[in-house]
């Protein structure tokens, strides 16, 4: 446990320091969402109808933006060698790294959502619904993205490859995330059904992600 908490604390600390990845994601999210009303125009009804989708797209792209560095930085400076050799199973180390990434880069997106909801003419209930679905869904984005990050480590130009590999995996999360938000705002579906599937997607990725990422890291040893 000391080993894992040390890894989580280190990654969060690096992300929060100058040049770390935590702020980049939030700033990107902010940019996408702030620009959207200017692009769509002053149609308030349209904005509030598109709001959940815009917030979800912004969060998805923002979390992909920083994910490719998840293992790359450790690979480049040799830390990954030591992590692979250590007494901590690689699967757990991967899970710890993904958790740290989510805490540093995913959670701030959710915190920023209520503020950005104002710009998209979303009321309190709608903003709350979107924030809740993001809270349930962004772990799935991080943990499936981790698989791509693991594969990208050994390939040059891995960043581009990662987007291609990970995007199909994140589509179900996007669909059910937006569906659950829409259900809470306009109906007619119940909120529970898509939200449960969203939670299930997150839980499955929590289990599958670390094993798949560790397997791809081991396979890519060189």
């Amino acid at each position: 446990m000391t080993a894992l908490s040390a890894l989580i604390r280190r990654d969060i600390r690096i992300a929060l320091r100058v040049g770390g990845g935590a702020l980049i994601g939030v700033l990107f999210f902010l940019t996408v969402v702030v620009l959207m009303p200017f692009a769509v125009g002053p149609d308030l009804a349209l904005l509030s109808r598109l709001g959940p989708a815009i917030l979800w797209l912004g969060a998805l792209l923002a979390s992909l933006l920083t994910l490719d560095r998840l293992f790359m930085a450790d690979h480049e400076d040799g830390s990954l060698d030591l992590i692979t050799m250590s007494r901590t199973p690689l699967e757990l180390a991967c899970a710890a790294k993904a958790l740290a990434h989510w805490l540093a880069a995913g959670l701030p997106l959710i915190v920023a959502t209520p503020v950005l909801g104002l710009l998209l003419n979303l009321d309190m209930v709608a903003t709350g619904a979107v924030a809740l679905t993001l809270l349930a869904g962004t772990p799935a984005l991080t943990f499936t993205g981790m698989i791509g990050a693991g594969l990208a480590v050994t390939l040059h130009r891995g960043g581009l490859l990662m987007a291609v590999l990970v995007l199909p995996l994140s589509i179900p999360v996007l669909i059910f995330g937006v569906a659950a938000s829409q259900a809470a705002i306009v109906g007619p579906m119940t909120f529970g059904a898509p939200f449960s599937i969203l939670c299930a997607l997150s839980l499955v990725s929590l289990v599958v992600g670390p094993f798949a990422a560790a397997a791809s890291l081991r396979h890519g040893l060189d």
Binding site: T2, A3, S5, A6, L7, R9, R10, R13, I14, R17, V18, G19, G20, E76, D77, G78, S79, D81, L82, I83, T84, M85, S86, R87, T88, L221, D222
Partner: protein
């Protein structure tokens, strides 16, 4: 030093073969090292010195042959009992000297010594709060050496360990290696330059 298992230990490889990128680097390599002994792996560039260390560290899969450790900790795998000091120093520029060292001590676990004492031993005690980004190449190497001292592992796998160290640093490192061997440690070092301690030579790839 307290706690280090003084039992006799032998690291041996039999018929080890290494293939990188479809090209055979070496094959049929036999080697053995016992505790208290340093082995200097030599050979021309590209002969597979680093590959051999990475094979022992479990970071490469041998294409043939076996590598085994007798007399080590039966509960741990060979890589888990090794320290690997590679070309890349596993330091995070955003973290301070102290934080870098403390992280590896916490993460690698096992028996650990005093981090502050190790930093003093490698001559970095004046820079503990400095971010690693501001360290020179030699200082980064010294910080990596502090990791070997802080967390106790019996087997040291060193890849060109004296690179970037000044003359005083090489003397200091020679002393650290002698201490490690005296405690029953085992060192396998890939090197071009003399190690600065008594060592047995393992030559890879003929006499080129």
């Amino acid at each position: 030093m307290s706690g280090l298992d003084q039992a006799k230990m032998q690291l041996s490889g039999r018929g080890v073969a290494c293939v990188r990128g479809g090209r055979e680097v070496f094959s049929g390599l036999d080697f053995a090292a016992v505790s208290g002994e340093a082995v200097a792996v030599t050979g021309r560039n590209g002969s597979g010195k680093t590959s051999l260390l990475r094979l022992i560290a479990g970071l490469l899969i041998p294409a043939g042959g076996t590598i085994a450790l007798d007399g080590g900790d039966a509960e741990l795998t060979l890589p888990e009992q090794c320290h690997y000091l590679g070309h890349r120093d596993a330091l995070k520029p955003a973290l301070s000297v102290e934080e870098n060292l403390a992280f590896w001590a916490d993460f690698l676990g096992g028996e650990r010594g005093d981090a502050a004492a190790s930093l003093t031993a490698v001559g970095l005690d004046h820079a503990t709060h400095l971010p690693a980004a501001f360290l020179s190449a030699g200082q980064r190497r010294r910080l990596s050496l502090a990791r070997l001292l802080t967390i106790r592992r019996r087997i040291w796998l060193l890849d060109e360990p004296t690179t970037a160290l000044d003359v005083a640093g090489q003397d200091m490192f020679g002393g650290l290696m002698r201490d490690h061997l005296a405690r029953g440690g085992l060192i396998i070092a890939a090197t071009h330059a003399p190690l600065g301690i008594d060592s047995r030579e393992l030559r890879i790839g003929g006499t080129a």
